[in-house]
Symmetry: C2
Subunit: 116 residues, 2 copies
Protein backbone atom coordinates (compact mmCIF):
# COMPACT_ATOMS: atom_id res chain seq x y z
CA UNK A 1 0.00 0.00 0.00
CA UNK A 2 3.02 2.28 0.02
CA UNK A 3 2.32 3.21 -3.61
CA UNK A 4 -1.19 4.27 -2.63
CA UNK A 5 0.21 6.76 -0.12
CA UNK A 6 2.16 8.42 -2.93
CA UNK A 7 -1.15 9.43 -4.49
CA UNK A 8 -1.99 11.99 -1.80
CA UNK A 9 -0.29 14.19 0.75
CA UNK A 10 -3.08 15.77 2.77
CA UNK A 11 -3.37 14.75 6.41
CA UNK A 12 -6.41 13.63 8.41
CA UNK A 13 -8.25 13.09 5.14
CA UNK A 14 -8.96 9.36 4.75
CA UNK A 15 -8.88 7.89 1.24
CA UNK A 16 -10.94 4.80 0.54
CA UNK A 17 -9.07 2.00 -1.22
CA UNK A 18 -11.27 -1.09 -0.88
CA UNK A 19 -14.77 -2.17 -0.01
CA UNK A 20 -15.52 -5.32 1.98
CA UNK A 21 -19.21 -6.08 2.40
CA UNK A 22 -20.59 -2.82 3.82
CA UNK A 23 -17.23 -1.75 5.21
CA UNK A 24 -14.61 0.51 3.69
CA UNK A 25 -10.83 0.29 4.06
CA UNK A 26 -9.22 3.73 4.16
CA UNK A 27 -5.69 5.07 4.24
CA UNK A 28 -4.85 8.23 6.10
CA UNK A 29 -1.78 10.33 6.82
CA UNK A 30 -1.90 11.74 10.33
CA UNK A 31 0.24 14.28 12.15
CA UNK A 32 -0.51 16.45 15.14
CA UNK A 33 -3.69 16.14 17.18
CA UNK A 34 -7.11 15.18 15.89
CA UNK A 35 -10.29 16.19 17.74
CA UNK A 36 -11.82 14.19 20.57
CA UNK A 37 -14.79 12.28 19.19
CA UNK A 38 -16.72 9.04 19.40
CA UNK A 39 -18.55 6.86 16.90
CA UNK A 40 -21.73 5.90 18.69
CA UNK A 41 -22.75 3.12 16.36
CA UNK A 42 -19.54 1.39 15.42
CA UNK A 43 -16.16 0.19 16.52
CA UNK A 44 -13.22 1.66 14.61
CA UNK A 45 -10.13 -0.28 13.60
CA UNK A 46 -6.70 1.37 13.38
CA UNK A 47 -3.68 -0.42 11.88
CA UNK A 48 -0.44 1.54 11.83
CA UNK A 49 1.41 0.94 8.57
CA UNK A 50 4.27 3.30 9.30
CA UNK A 51 5.22 5.45 12.25
CA UNK A 52 3.78 5.87 15.71
CA UNK A 53 0.17 6.70 16.50
CA UNK A 54 -1.10 7.54 19.96
CA UNK A 55 -4.79 7.17 20.69
CA UNK A 56 -5.95 9.01 23.79
CA UNK A 57 -8.89 7.20 25.33
CA UNK A 58 -11.32 9.01 27.61
CA UNK A 59 -10.70 7.91 31.18
CA UNK A 60 -8.02 5.36 30.33
CA UNK A 61 -4.34 5.21 29.54
CA UNK A 62 -3.39 6.34 26.05
CA UNK A 63 -2.65 3.57 23.56
CA UNK A 64 0.68 3.83 21.73
CA UNK A 65 0.78 1.99 18.44
CA UNK A 66 3.91 1.36 16.39
CA UNK A 67 4.27 0.10 12.84
CA UNK A 68 2.29 -3.11 12.52
CA UNK A 69 0.18 -2.55 15.62
CA UNK A 70 -3.59 -2.77 15.50
CA UNK A 71 -6.22 -1.43 17.88
CA UNK A 72 -10.00 -1.34 17.87
CA UNK A 73 -11.70 1.63 19.57
CA UNK A 74 -15.05 0.36 20.85
CA UNK A 75 -18.24 2.10 19.76
CA UNK A 76 -19.19 5.05 21.94
CA UNK A 77 -15.73 5.51 23.42
CA UNK A 78 -14.40 9.03 23.13
CA UNK A 79 -10.90 9.06 21.67
CA UNK A 80 -8.33 11.36 20.10
CA UNK A 81 -5.69 10.12 17.66
CA UNK A 82 -2.43 12.03 17.56
CA UNK A 83 1.03 11.62 16.09
CA UNK A 84 4.16 13.59 16.82
CA UNK A 85 5.49 12.89 13.34
CA UNK A 86 3.53 11.89 10.30
CA UNK A 87 2.23 8.35 10.51
CA UNK A 88 0.50 6.22 7.88
CA UNK A 89 -2.58 4.45 9.12
CA UNK A 90 -5.15 2.03 7.74
CA UNK A 91 -8.71 2.47 9.01
CA UNK A 92 -11.64 0.11 8.76
CA UNK A 93 -15.13 1.43 9.27
CA UNK A 94 -18.63 0.81 7.97
CA UNK A 95 -19.31 2.88 4.88
CA UNK A 96 -20.81 6.24 5.72
CA UNK A 97 -18.86 6.81 8.92
CA UNK A 98 -17.71 10.41 9.33
CA UNK A 99 -14.13 10.81 10.52
CA UNK A 100 -14.97 13.29 13.28
CA UNK A 101 -17.81 11.16 14.64
CA UNK A 102 -19.96 13.04 17.14
CA UNK A 103 -17.64 16.05 17.36
CA UNK A 104 -19.13 19.32 16.27
CA UNK A 105 -18.23 19.74 12.63
CA UNK A 106 -14.70 21.09 12.48
CA UNK A 107 -12.17 21.91 9.81
CA UNK A 108 -11.05 18.32 10.21
CA UNK A 109 -14.33 16.84 9.07
CA UNK A 110 -13.54 15.27 5.74
CA UNK A 111 -15.62 13.56 3.09
CA UNK A 112 -14.10 10.27 2.08
CA UNK A 113 -12.64 10.24 -1.41
CA UNK A 114 -11.87 7.07 -3.31
CA UNK A 115 -8.22 6.88 -4.20
CA UNK A 116 -8.70 4.70 -7.24
CA UNK B 1 1.74 -7.82 15.13
CA UNK B 2 5.06 -9.58 14.68
CA UNK B 3 5.03 -10.57 18.37
CA UNK B 4 1.65 -12.21 17.86
CA UNK B 5 3.09 -14.46 15.17
CA UNK B 6 5.66 -15.72 17.66
CA UNK B 7 2.81 -17.27 19.65
CA UNK B 8 2.04 -19.96 17.08
CA UNK B 9 3.71 -21.88 14.31
CA UNK B 10 0.95 -23.94 12.66
CA UNK B 11 0.00 -23.03 9.11
CA UNK B 12 -3.43 -22.46 7.60
CA UNK B 13 -4.87 -22.18 11.08
CA UNK B 14 -6.12 -18.61 11.60
CA UNK B 15 -5.80 -17.10 15.07
CA UNK B 16 -8.23 -14.39 16.09
CA UNK B 17 -6.62 -11.30 17.59
CA UNK B 18 -9.33 -8.63 17.59
CA UNK B 19 -13.04 -8.15 17.23
CA UNK B 20 -14.57 -5.20 15.39
CA UNK B 21 -18.36 -5.06 15.50
CA UNK B 22 -19.37 -8.52 14.28
CA UNK B 23 -16.11 -9.04 12.40
CA UNK B 24 -12.96 -10.81 13.52
CA UNK B 25 -9.36 -9.97 12.63
CA UNK B 26 -7.24 -13.09 12.27
CA UNK B 27 -3.57 -13.82 11.69
CA UNK B 28 -2.47 -16.83 9.70
CA UNK B 29 0.78 -18.40 8.53
CA UNK B 30 0.39 -19.86 5.06
CA UNK B 31 2.65 -22.04 2.93
CA UNK B 32 1.86 -24.33 0.04
CA UNK B 33 -1.58 -24.58 -1.53
CA UNK B 34 -4.89 -24.19 0.25
CA UNK B 35 -8.09 -25.73 -1.15
CA UNK B 36 -10.31 -24.05 -3.71
CA UNK B 37 -13.33 -22.64 -1.92
CA UNK B 38 -15.79 -19.76 -1.82
CA UNK B 39 -17.59 -17.88 0.92
CA UNK B 40 -21.10 -17.49 -0.40
CA UNK B 41 -22.24 -14.87 2.09
CA UNK B 42 -19.27 -12.62 2.59
CA UNK B 43 -16.31 -10.90 1.04
CA UNK B 44 -12.93 -11.85 2.51
CA UNK B 45 -10.10 -9.41 3.08
CA UNK B 46 -6.44 -10.45 2.80
CA UNK B 47 -3.60 -8.18 3.90
CA UNK B 48 -0.09 -9.56 3.48
CA UNK B 49 2.07 -8.64 6.45
CA UNK B 50 5.17 -10.51 5.30
CA UNK B 51 6.02 -12.48 2.22
CA UNK B 52 4.21 -13.19 -1.01
CA UNK B 53 0.71 -14.61 -1.30
CA UNK B 54 -0.87 -15.70 -4.55
CA UNK B 55 -4.64 -15.96 -4.77
CA UNK B 56 -5.89 -18.00 -7.70
CA UNK B 57 -9.29 -16.74 -8.78
CA UNK B 58 -11.67 -18.95 -10.70
CA UNK B 59 -11.74 -17.81 -14.32
CA UNK B 60 -9.43 -14.84 -13.83
CA UNK B 61 -5.76 -14.08 -13.55
CA UNK B 62 -4.16 -14.98 -10.26
CA UNK B 63 -3.55 -12.09 -7.86
CA UNK B 64 0.00 -11.78 -6.52
CA UNK B 65 0.24 -9.91 -3.24
CA UNK B 66 3.49 -8.75 -1.65
CA UNK B 67 4.12 -7.41 1.82
CA UNK B 68 1.71 -4.55 2.47
CA UNK B 69 -0.69 -5.49 -0.32
CA UNK B 70 -4.40 -5.88 0.33
CA UNK B 71 -7.06 -7.69 -1.67
CA UNK B 72 -10.74 -8.39 -1.14
CA UNK B 73 -12.15 -11.61 -2.61
CA UNK B 74 -15.81 -10.96 -3.40
CA UNK B 75 -18.49 -13.18 -1.91
CA UNK B 76 -19.22 -16.28 -3.95
CA UNK B 77 -15.97 -16.17 -5.92
CA UNK B 78 -14.05 -19.41 -5.84
CA UNK B 79 -10.42 -18.86 -4.89
CA UNK B 80 -7.31 -20.67 -3.72
CA UNK B 81 -4.60 -18.97 -1.66
CA UNK B 82 -1.08 -20.33 -2.04
CA UNK B 83 2.43 -19.33 -1.07
CA UNK B 84 5.71 -20.77 -2.25
CA UNK B 85 7.38 -19.81 1.03
CA UNK B 86 5.71 -19.11 4.33
CA UNK B 87 3.84 -15.82 4.34
CA UNK B 88 2.15 -13.97 7.20
CA UNK B 89 -1.31 -12.77 6.43
CA UNK B 90 -4.04 -10.79 8.17
CA UNK B 91 -7.62 -11.83 7.41
CA UNK B 92 -10.83 -9.98 8.10
CA UNK B 93 -14.11 -11.86 8.05
CA UNK B 94 -17.44 -11.83 9.83
CA UNK B 95 -17.33 -13.95 12.98
CA UNK B 96 -18.34 -17.52 12.32
CA UNK B 97 -16.79 -17.78 8.86
CA UNK B 98 -15.12 -21.14 8.27
CA UNK B 99 -11.71 -20.97 6.59
CA UNK B 100 -12.52 -23.56 3.95
CA UNK B 101 -15.84 -21.96 3.01
CA UNK B 102 -17.98 -24.21 0.84
CA UNK B 103 -15.25 -26.78 0.25
CA UNK B 104 -16.02 -30.25 1.51
CA UNK B 105 -14.53 -30.47 4.99
CA UNK B 106 -10.85 -31.21 4.62
CA UNK B 107 -7.87 -31.57 6.90
CA UNK B 108 -7.42 -27.85 6.38
CA UNK B 109 -10.73 -26.92 7.99
CA UNK B 110 -9.76 -25.20 11.21
CA UNK B 111 -11.70 -23.83 14.13
CA UNK B 112 -10.63 -20.31 14.94
CA UNK B 113 -8.71 -20.01 18.20
CA UNK B 114 -8.24 -16.74 20.00
CA UNK B 115 -4.58 -15.92 20.37
CA UNK B 116 -5.00 -13.81 23.49
Amino acid sequence: MSEAFELFTDQWSPKAIARMNDYVVKLVRVEGEFVWHAHDDTDELFLVLEGTLVIDIDGEDAIELSTGDLFVVPAGVSHRPRAEREARVLLLEPSGVVNTGDATTTDLTSAVEWLV
